[in-house]
Symmetry: C2
Subunit: 741 residues, 2 copies
């Protein structure tokens, strides 16, 4: 495919000349932003040999075939998100970007002409544009109603320009730079310093756009602006620009506080700009910056998934989104290219089904084709939050790397800004590849016009964000922080201990001292492996909360599957149903049943995709259990009508909810045979619960039991503990201990 280099400017007749008409390539010249001239020549060499590369290439050909058929359309901006001009300008940057790539890779001049004509039309129009007529954003653009979209346009268009730059006449280049790209980048930066200098994911897009445009135009000052922000009186000595964004928006572990659904999106400008920096200023060693923060952030995003690749739905998250999202293709390609020892990334790239048409994408396609992929390994890990890593964390315990293995996640991190939920100490659980204890995620149908135009639904605020929508304690039927996100955003949960060293038990414990007023909460979750007793790992959950005053404590569990059995003495409201309450999300819960414990424990069995789940929760005399279903006060039938259990303990100051969730048995759908449908956990009993210790016993029908001892007042690994309970001596060192009786 490597062809003689002939540089032809101007429009020529398509025909026999076509194959001769290839872009000018020289080592120091364009393209140089993301795709490089070396990359072009390497990719050309491999086209036709690597299935994933070819598929990705063909996809762009199809995209351009469809869009170029409509001609060049550069309408005067008018519409809000979702409207014609909005969508058209979005499609334009995608098509210009794709056409730029195809011009470089195919040498078919129609692509260069398409980009050139469109850029010239933009350059004609841009100088006359005022602010976008839709006045809904704190930072309006010109093409779009908000500068976020405006910046994304520049990220793609700067690459398109870079790809056809050598094709353009000097005059056209000048016009496009002077009338379009420079003023466009200025609007996003020097004319919007407040926005540009923020430490916020929108500003990362702006930095990337401005910086990449700078590289495309060989404008060093513009790159500098992107890397370091703009010095103003107001922002003097404050962190700003891309380096500051790398420093402050990720935790040292690479966690982004809005959670994985948004981290997927936030990563893209980071990695694209980093690639541009690496290509043009390799001495900056940008991928080594802050302990390889971009590698960490990418891997962490991938780790925060269930084994089907779907993201853990913290905060505002759409539950179908997975690491197959196209936004992650560049991240996976680029990070793999820099750290090719991470062979697991190839498995993710394979699942993504295409690669970027860049040198990084080429390497992925090549190494995949060489059979170098290794299975992605989902691991247990604690992901600290906050730029300093001291603002709590997200803890992930996985029974093992098996796809079917149990996984429990707890959030004791920061709130997550405007997209955060009031879910401190909330847990989710997966097993056998399925959600078992579920988080609702966001109430939204993205891009579905029927549902409020695809925007967040009203129920996102009235239901999904509230504490009762999560698997965590609600005090006095009131959302954590009284539902005030600004207060919540200032303080985080607190790591207590996280230990995955012991082969028989993985355990995490965290505290929450702000969400419940003066009350102090601590949750400890353990995944216990004891093959003598349990077919699958056992999950033990201990939620302790203390205050001077008496409260009502509710602990909901949104279980996924079909309820089979409960041992409670309950009433099922079989002919008339009402709601669980009037506010704080309770108004969205139907009360399907209500009961009292018939023994010392509530026991509930459900079934999900072939396995049985038995939850045993210690009961006090006046405890109540509620059987709930989401969907009340939902006039447009927007919510998913999912089931839950809610345990209520009233009139208590300090208390502890202790539960064991046993996974067991199987049903074979082909034979209809059922094995091991009855679990062996008989009861859960709190032996001790005070400021210093919580000690919980899990009793089995085999007359054996296990005891989990938790130290609440010191988590020092060297601290020794010793006590006698009911004539039995418990002695251990460190924050917790598992005993077997």
């Amino acid at each position: 495919m490597k062809q003689k280099i002939i540089h032809i400017t101007g429009i020529i007749t398509l025909g026999v000349l076509l194959t001769l008409c290839v872009p000018h390539q020289s080592e120091e010249s364009s393209p140089n932003v993301i795709l490089t001239s070396q990359g072009v020549s390497d990719i050309r060499n491999e086209l036709g040999k690597l299935p994933l590369l070819d598929k990705s290439y063909d996809r762009w050909v199809k995209v351009l075939e469809d869009d170029m058929a409509l001609g060049v359309n550069v309408p005067v901006p008018k519409d809000p998100a979702g409207g014609y001009t909005h969508n058209r300008h979005k499609q334009n940057y995608i098509s210009m970007y794709g056409a730029g790539l195809l011009w470089q890779l195919s040498g078919d001049e129609k692509y260069a002409i398409f980009v050139k004509d469109m850029l010239l039309e933009y350059a004609d129009m841009y100088p006359s544009l005022g602010a976008h007529p839709v006045e809904k954003s704190y930072a309006r653009g010109k093409l779009f109603w908000q500068q976020l979209n405006e910046a994304v346009w520049l990220v793609y268009t700067s690459q398109a320009y870079d790809c056809i730059k050598s094709y353009l006449s000097e005059e056209d280049r000048k016009k496009i730079e002077a009338d379009l790209l420079i003023p466009y980048a200025n609007l996003l930066s020097v004319e919007s310093t407040y926005v540009f200098n923020r430490i916020h994911n929108h500003a990362v897009w702006a930095a990337a756009g401005v910086g990449m445009a700078g590289y495309a135009m060989d404008n060093e000052e513009m790159v500098h602006r992107a890397l370091f922000g703009i010095e103003t009186e107001e922002h003097k000595d404050k962190p700003k620009g891309y380096y500051a964004q790398l420093d402050l928006l990720f935790s040292p572990d690479g966690y982004y506080t809005e959670g994985p659904y948004y981290q997927r999106y936030a990563l893209l400008p980071y990695v694209l700009f980093a690639q541009a920096i690496e290509n043009n200023n390799p001495a900056y060693k940008i991928f080594e910056y802050r302990g390889q923060i971009l590698r960490k952030a990418t891997l962490v995003t991938l780790q925060m998934t269930n084994t089907d690749g779907k993201f853990m739905p913290f905060n505002d998250a759409l539950k179908d989104m997975s690491f197959r999202a196209p936004e992650l293709i560049n991240a996976v390609n680029i990070v793999y290219n820099e750290f090719p020892e991470s062979k697991q990334l190839l498995s993710v790239a394979k699942a993504q089904g295409r690669v970027a048409l860049t040198q990084a994408g080429l390497r992925v396609a090549k190494d995949l084709n060489n059979g170098e992929a290794q299975p992605f390994q989902w691991l247990s890990m604690e992901l600290n939050d906050g730029a300093d890593g001291k603002q709590g964390a997200v803890g992930i315990l996985r029974a093992d790397a098996n796809k079917d293995a149990a996984c429990v996640v707890m959030k004791y991190a920061q709130h997550g800004m405007g997209h955060g939920h009031f879910d401190r100490l909330g847990i989710m659980m997966y097993d056998n590849g399925n959600e078992i204890l579920s988080d609702y995620g966001a109430a939204r149908y993205v891009n579905v016009e029927y549902k409020h135009g695809g925007r967040y639904l009203p129920e996102n605020k009235t239901w999904a964000k509230h504490t009762v929508a999560h698997n965590t304690v609600v005090m006095d039927k009131t959302t954590q922080f009284n539902g005030d996100y600004k207060t919540a955003d200032k303080v985080s949960g607190e790591k207590w201990f996280f230990n995955i060293e012991n082969e028989h038990i993985s355990i995490m414990s965290a505290k929450e001292n702000n969400a419940y007023g003066s009350a102090q909460a601590q949750r400890t979750v353990a995944v216990i492996k004891d093959k003598d007793l349990f077919e699958f790992p056992l999950v033990v959950d201990v939620f302790k909360i203390d205050d001077d005053k008496k409260h009502t404590y509710d602990l909901p569990f949104y279980y996924k599957g079909k309820l089979l059995y409960t041992n409670a003495d309950y009433t099922n409201f079989t002919t008339q149903r009402g709601t669980m309450g009037d506010d704080f999300g309770y108004q969205h819960l139907w009360k399907e049943g209500q009961g009292k414990a018939s023994t010392d424990n509530f026991q509930t069995v459900w079934f999900n995709e072939g396995r049985f789940y038995t939850m045993t929760t210690e009961a006090q005399a006046d405890d109540e259990i509620f059987y709930t279903r989401i969907g009340a006060n939902d006039p447009e039938f927007s919510l998913r009508n999912e089931t839950g259990l809610l345990f209520r303990r009233s009139n208590q100051s300090s208390t502890c909810f202790a539960s064991a969730l046993e996974v067991h048995g199987n049903k074979n759908f082909d034979t209809e045979l059922v094995e091991n449908q009855v679990g062996i956990v008989k009861g859960v009993k709190t032996l001790l619960n005070n400021k210093a210790y919580t000690i919980v016993e899990i009793q089995t029908v085999k007359n054996s039991s296990i005891v989990l001892a938790i130290s609440n007042s010191t988590n020092a690994p060297s601290e020794e503990h010793n006590m006698n309970i009911a004539d039995k001596q418990y002695t251990w060192k460190g924050p917790y201990k598992l005993f077997k009786k």
Copy 2:
């Protein structure tokens, strides 16, 4: 693997001698029932070469390893279904059967000893046994509470005996035959002539057991008894025995009236006994009998599945059951072996994941290994019901053979005996591999102890069987036939026309003149392909019902997916919910919402796995729509809480419900992009509805429309029809016509 043949009787020490110890083989000797001596030698030759064969073999080794570790246990019968002795005797026949196979194929004597010891223990015990102590069946066995299980035991045990017969001493053979097999077969036949001579699937098991035992013991009389039944005064001149069962239990198309879930099970004794007949009396040409009825019955069972292999859940059916069921392994193997041109069967065998250790299974494994499998082709077909083929039918329309294509099924067959549902003219729809309009199937959790011991739930009678649980009209809120199954069982639906010849329209029409008292009903369902107008095939549904008196007509649709939009003026009962009624299944429906039409049509949009479904139903002024959810009056939370729409038309004598169900658009979960979410059907209008004709127009937003004309009083293909409606002439020949305007 072929080894020197040395016949050793008696127990020998395991060790080096083991490899020499192989069963005696001669051409005319045992085994000869299902596995044959030729089969043994062929399979031995191929072991280690064919993955599916090896896997199937290894599975039996594992089964026996587990069960033989427990020793030989032949307890005195005592327990009902699910109890220890019941399960033990079930496992015993499986283990004896497997051990018999393994003795033949491996020559490892431990297997022969295991079967011998167990048979001798049975022979010791059997003569002293009276009737089983559980008195719940009309036909008690001795080992089991019902003779059905008793017969199944013999089907397997006769094969086990056949496999080790040549290993046994003359004395042991005599004892086993005289004290066990002969009296056992007699109990099922000559001592239970009423049961044995029935035309009923239980009697097929008995015939197969007795016949196969006859072949195993070279007892011709016993085989004759199985083939032709037992002559008694009472059954003289009446059809009885296996041949009569072949004549009368399947329709000429091979449909079994209980529906596919039970057909899967009913087939097994048929095909096993047929194989035994073919092996021992090939001159009978049993597989040619009645136009190859066993081939037809097997293929029909496979056709009555969605593209994931799950059975259409007519009548009492568990919805997870599929053609991967082990009961179908023998059927698929045996029918393929007889008709090896049916290469599609190999795909089913592949999905089943194992083969029988027989010559038939060997052939499947071999041909699969040779790459001979062809994809299974799901087809449109009308399956007539009744031994004479004149008792109505099940109609299946498939848009095409594509796995994702729409499929609509209508039941206008017989009731289905005790397992039947009151669902005349009920439809189901699949699309994109998913249920779209769903049938509830049975209310039962097979083998789940928590749910009434795995038996049918009370809700099976109070909900699942009722008409309102199905997608068909309910008159005056009363179940068809007033819920009397004996009346329903006497009469069937009536085929009107079924046409799949036209590439633009597949259509079926059926009448029901018994289920609604004096009212006469007719339903016509068409799948229309018009690429100019519709992205996917359009389903048109016309339900016409006529009576002299006025009635309330309800038409429910149990849609699967998330409701996105409805154009009705409705009230959503957001804080208090009640039920739809008090009886005939209505007591199990929550009334979530209720509304009136806002235009001439009800339009409802839902979303399922990436596609949109828009149902447009013509509305009259006083029509009501209800939004329902299954699960009221369900004190044990047993039902699945699925959603439905219910259209109600009150105070009408003759009327017609006309709907169009449009499949459109897609959502990409990786990109979140949504395409074509708004359908193009604007309205459905009945242009004419009288005794002679029903003519329905489907209008689109493109100002085009299609018109479906149905002839109600003659279905003659040659009949010409001609009429003028609103100044437009409609002229056609035959029972229906599709016009485009």
